[in-house]
Amino acid sequence: MRARVFVTLKPSVFDPQGRTIADALHSLGYAGVEDVRQGKYFELDLATNEAAQARALAAEVADKLLANPVIESYRVEIDG
């Protein structure tokens, strides 16, 4: 089963890279893009076919390593 983990800076943390990308889009004329947050994306191939188990495992490794809880939060999606 495949889990997808999205890691981004927490809302309380300023993201200078995201800000710079938003500014670049504005200079390209995309005024409709109000803000950008940059993050990381992980695909995990897991040795289970249980969605609940896969979700729990993905969250555990995100907590332990993929995200730094001081500055980042994450979201897990499981591929059916």
Binding site: L9, S12, V13, F14, P16, Q17, T20, L65, L66, N68, V70, I71
Partner: protein
Amino acid sequence: MKFAIVTFPGSNCDQDAYHAARDVLGEEAEYLWHKDTDLKGADVIVLPGGFAHGDYLRCGAMARFSPIMREVQRFAARGGPVLGICNGFQVLLEAGLLPGAMLRNQSLKFRCEHVHIRVEQIDTPFTAACRKDQVLKIPIAHGEGNYFAEPDVIARLERNRQVVFRYTTPDGEVADAANPNGSAAAIAGLCSEARNVVGLMPHPERACESVLGSADGLVIFESVVQSLKSGGLVARA
């Protein structure tokens, strides 16, 4: 007195730290490879600057899985003096030996220049030979040195007097223009609650001889020698 300098794959300031300890200070120094499991009788551990494990995932994130870090953790827990410089500071943060995390510099630029830092606390093994509020001119070289912690954590650090160095003007004044990376509370360096673990972004080992533009960093290394010789610190590997 024996300094042990940990070399991770990707460390690149280990030789500078070794040179400062051995050639400038005249103390014993030895390298520890990250796969070592023995601190070889070290009195002081230095985690040097560089890009440990390529800074994969996050700066310092992979280094805590190196076998030597288990021994460094034990040494720190016994009260042994540990100094993390630049990437070494990032490793200490990721390993949970110091609180907080590093973000990309606010300017998004890699900053490589001399800065001024003010010594806020002199009751740590690495600042014992400093004067309180002494201003040191020391180089930085980093892209991710923008210190972040939640406001309640910053308040706790201030209350416990764990902010050891702050970026300032040459006159020792905190100012936005003197903060090279956007660090919260102009924090350049911290100590642990027990005060024996110190991390800082500037490179004192690159400022130990006047030929390098400043010898202000030497006092950091002299401090730990003085602390150990005066018997204030007892841990030995």
